[in-house]
């Protein structure tokens, strides 16, 4: 088994005024050659956007972009004609493929939106762009790991162009569980949204991240009420 831990306070940070972002991995002008990616997981940004502000229309290609609102509402528009508002318990995925334009704005003028912006390298380059979003029931992840992203179209989770599975869990204090990898050779990156957990005997707190690979399953214990996001991705 191999592991890597990224403590919350070691993340890259960029404050653009309207946007306050913490980068678990190198992004934009934050560059640390030892923190570029975890397997196919390339970007894990913890973004807080001021009321009414946002990312103006800009292009992307060849990236699987997952947005997970943690609080507040995010308004999405793209060049495929999609307009949507995503909020807590929604998961949005944009497969940029051959190229799309999109904008993401805080829907509300009077409160901030906090969301995770996650980029995963695509399994296949230059696919037809696509957009999807789904709403998940929070009660279905109490002391359970709820799959929210998967590579199987039509099954649980939004579909991703990669052999990747994302799961959310709201774990009560002292609850223990095991996560078994879906695919041999994959690794899992655990990001603590809130609370405290122990993963493979390593303690993690809010916004800490831990990658684990060269193993088939991991043990998770909630040391306090905790919310976790697990991102299983290919390592090569």
């Amino acid at each position: 088994m191999q592991t890597i831990i990224h403590r919350a306070n070691t993340r890259g940070h960029a404050n653009h005024g309207w946007l306050d972002s913490n980068h678990t991995f190198s992004f934009a002008h934050y560059y640390d050659s030892t923190r570029v990616h975890f397997g196919m997981l390339r970007v894990l940004n913890d973004d807080v956007v001021d009321g009414g502000k946002g990312f103006a229309k800009h292009p992307h290609d060849n990236m699987e972009i997952i947005s997970i609102p943690l609080s507040g509402d995010l308004e999405h528009k793209d060049s495929m004609g999609n307009t949507a508002v995503i909020k807590q318990n929604d998961i949005q995925i944009l497969s940029a493929g051959t190229g799309i334009y999109h904008s993401e704005y805080n829907k509300n003028n009077d409160k901030k939106v906090n969301f995770l912006q996650i980029w995963v390298f695509p399994k296949v380059r230059d696919i037809k762009p696509r957009y999807d979003q789904k709403t998940f029931k929070p009660e279905d992840r109490v002391n359970k790991l709820q799959v929210v992203v998967s590579p199987s179209e039509g099954s649980e989770g939004v579909w991703i162009n990669q052999d990747a599975w994302f799961s959310l869990g709201n774990l009560k204090k002292d609850f223990q569980t095991e996560y078994s990898f879906n695919l041999k050779g994959n690794g899992v990156y655990v990001f603590v949204l809130d609370g405290e957990v122990t993963i493979q005997d390593r303690k993690l707190t809010k916004r800490d991240g831990m990658g684990v690979w060269d193993i088939d399953s991991i043990g998770i214990k909630a040391d306090a009420d905790a919310q976790v996001l697990l991102m299983e991705v290919p390592m090569n």
């Binding site: 992004f27 390339r42 292009p59 992307h60 990236m63 940029a96 190229g99």
Partner: protein
Amino acid sequence: MQVNILVIGRHTEIMEVILRLINGEPNWQAVGALADDKAIALFNEQLFDIVLIGGGVKDESVATLTNRFKAKNPLIKIIKHYGGGSGLLFNEIQDALS
């Protein structure tokens, strides 16, 4: 030291964004090619440190271009660009330079 970058892609608007971003950085200079012929012509005319291959360039083109470029300059760094914007662009170039 100036870093000269050849950007190859198929998406006109993304190419414009990438060139604008790179050329906005001090000491980085980029030109773009939307077609393989243009890329080869530029490579023959100018000295480049990095070739950045963006979206839409098929594997066969990548292989052909790589062979042509490496034959002319064995030290050329050829990297694939992902994301089509500012997010990874600077990191990818930094990575290539380091």
